[in-house]
Amino acid sequence: MRVTEAYFDTASAAPLHPAARQAFAAALDDGWADPARLYSRARRARQLLDAARGATAEVLGVRPDELSFTAGGTAAAHAAVLGGLAGRARAGNGFTHSAIEHSAVLHAAEQHVAAGGSAREVGVDRVGRVDLEAFTAAVAAPGTALAALISASHEVGTVQPVAAAAEACGQHGVPLYVDAAQSVGRVPVPEGWSLLTASAHKWGGPPGIGLLVVRKGTRFLPPGPTDDRTDRTPDLPAVVAASASLRAATTEAAALAERHRALVDRIRSTVAATVPDVEVVGDPVDRLPHLVTFSCLYVDGEALLHALDRRGFAVSSGSSCTSSTLTPSHVLVAMGVLSHGNVRVSLHRDSTDAEVDRFLAELPGIVADLRAEAGVGNL
């Protein structure tokens, strides 16, 4: 990372937490043997894996045997959706999900539909909160096998009514899957769900480690060939690092959230006041602490992203021109908000007031320059 670079894309990948680095190095020395073998060195590796699983389960408030480590958050989401649906095949083949799920969940839904299943998408309001009444009605429909609701929007930060959705699901005997990738390690996740996934590199762990929790009593049939081992990807040093950093991040979470909330509040109010024709999106209060999204009218999202990068700001965008498929963010579309000129800022534990101040000082000029170049300054 350049010294002058302000990294504001933690929601894509958080910088490695120091606790992860330390644990990773120690586990490389001590935990390289196959934990399934029977000699002392293998038993040592098994102990490390069991300790990592125990510590992670404790943070999540679940039993260790309910938790699996997967090859990343995407793999965990795919397994949760397809395994949750397969386990409930006798109840039906209906999958209910919000319109603002992560693309990993939507891709799994597409595969389910391609295989003959059905999926029902439930819309959101202008701030990006799921229509709970419609969600409840969809869950109550006969043949619903599984429902999915993201804990909080990864694109606009709006917290979702997970507890109420879980209650509605419970009344109809439908398991609820919660993608908690943006919440775990930062904010508490309400109870009542049956399946939950998370991703280590969103809280400062290494990439390539996901968490999949299947509560006891939930019918679940893991997709793909079955294996006699519960964790098919025992990248032990990374698992140990993920566990150590989750514990550290959770310990710091409350204080960090308070600091991030203040910075995000400042970004929300300053951007709205200093950049003309900007739409700050997402719930202003009931939201993730570290993330804020806004769209600038008449501005090309890709041009804005590159202009910010040249000034040393790393952000992401939901604008169509920045996506590989040239389609706008499905989250912004579902909310009915402006999708071009879009910027998502997400903070990490080492983000500073000075970085945010510099961003807020430079942004109005950057947007004004782009509008002047495009000849839209007076529209």
């Binding site: 739409e279 008449y298 090309d300 021109c321 706008p328 009915g336 402006l338 999708s339 071009h340 000129g341």
Partner: protein
Amino acid sequence: MILETLDCRGQRCPLPVIALARRLPELPVGATLRVLADDPAAASDIPAWCRMRGQHYAGSPEPHAFDVRRER
């Protein structure tokens, strides 16, 4: 009725929205402008622009067509 059609097919967002913002104020209040745009972002960005600018989004009569009435 549609007073005029603005063909923005083949243009990437935000260009169709910019073309709309340029042309609509030149039409009389109450007139409806049809914007043809096949960029997938237009379907959300044109209604959003209407909301931000206090103009009336009159719906999409067919794919890639969006009607906007000048309110003010």
